[in-house]
């Protein structure tokens, strides 16, 4: 739920990167952080296991500055993707304003993508949020694996699996290489901000 200070005209939005375990959510944030770290004050916070699996969340806040009189602050979060961390995942989703769904393009992760999306819808439901009402952007990650000879799903299949009803904006990407990571998050921020501002006016 966006934090809005009508007096100071400050708007703070929470964007959460969701998706199956090891899909690239944390990698997305790490790449974004590497690109903007010289212009932001805070560090990225990562609460993870010794095996580098997200345990609680990754967190990256930054200010975009004043836009049309509104001071826009963004908070990016990732959730743990492993199934056993559902209670934690639900917690991190509290107050979410927009979602980036990071899907894993690997063929054998197809089912995991679908169940992660269903799980997201369930968790949002817990907060009385309909997934169709929430600003959402899809990222079909790990496209770079094709060049290494690892079989990946084609985009049409992924769109059909995940985006047939939502018809949300989607991007193919390689978070590891940084391809399309920034465009994904820019789109997510802008759709979220516009949706909030519509509610405000």
């Amino acid at each position: 739920m966006a934090f809005i200070n009508t007096k100071t005209k400050e708007v703070q939005v929470k964007l959460v990167f969701v998706g199956p375990g090891r899909g690239g959510k944390t990698t997305n944030l790490e790449y974004i952080f590497s690109r903007i770290r010289h212009r932001i004050e805070s560090d990225m916070v990562s609460i993870k296991t010794q095996g580098d699996r997200t345990l609680f969340f990754d967190f990256l806040p930054f200010e975009l500055g004043a836009i049309k009189g509104y001071n826009v602050k963004t908070q990016l979060y990732t959730v743990p993707g492993q199934v056993k961390y559902n209670a934690t995942r639900k917690l991190v989703l509290k107050g979410v304003d927009g979602i980036v769904f990071v899907a894993d393009s690997m063929v054998d992760r197809r089912e995991n993508n679908i169940s992660a999306l269903n799980n997201l819808a369930e968790n949002l439901n817990f907060y009385d949020i309909d997934i169709t009402d929430l600003p959402l952007v899809f990222q079909y990650n790990k496209r770079d694996l094709a060049t290494e000879g690892i079989p990946i799903l084609d985009v049409e299949t992924m769109e059909k699996d995940l985006n047939a009803q939502l018809k949300a904006p989607s991007f193919t990407a390689s978070a590891l290489k940084g391809d399309n990571v920034i465009p994904t998050v820019k789109k997510a921020i802008s759709t979220t901000m516009v949706a909030i501002r519509e509610k405000l006016l």
Binding site: V45, S46, I47, K48, T49, Q50, G51, R53, L55, F56, P80, K84, Y85, N86, A87, T88, L91
Partner: protein
């Protein structure tokens, strides 16, 4: 760091935790690893909550608080304790990989519980370290 605990060690852990802590009349004691996996779960028989979610959240919580400690320049906090109206939770780190979560009522003094925990940790460490030497 991966570890394998055999039945003998698990039994030993259960016994130590039962004798030293559960006999104080507390609600439950859970030994977990830092990834939120449950190793030993003991309670007073009246517990109905979801231990697995509790364990995952406990690990996440501890991780978050450790991150906070770093931010303020502390290596770690020596006390992580949440006070409820009738039940309280205390977290104690054991070595670098484990967490002891104790849930207890107001009839047990925290200071005294911590004394008992300090004692039982020695036994827990000894039992777990047995595996690493084999």
């Amino acid at each position: 760091m991966s570890y394998i605990l055999d039945q003998e060690q698990l039994d030993g852990l259960e016994e130590a935790l039962t004798t030293d802590l559960m006999t104080l009349g507390i609600q439950s004691v859970i030994l977990i690893d830092m990834a939120g996996n449950v190793i030993v779960n003991l309670d007073d028989g009246k517990v109905r909550h979801d231990v697995y979610s509790l364990a995952a959240l406990a690990a996440g919580n501890f991780g978050a608080v450790s991150a906070m400690a770093s931010i303020i320049g502390e290596e770690e906090f020596s006390l992580l304790f949440h006070k409820g109206k009738s039940e309280n939770i205390n977290f104690t780190k054991i070595m670098d990989d484990f967490l002891l979560v104790s849930i207890f009522g107001n009839d047990v003094s925290l200071g005294y519980l911590r004394l008992k925990i300090d004692e039982v940790i020695k036994k827990v460490k000894a039992l777990i370290e047995k595996t690493r030497s084999t």
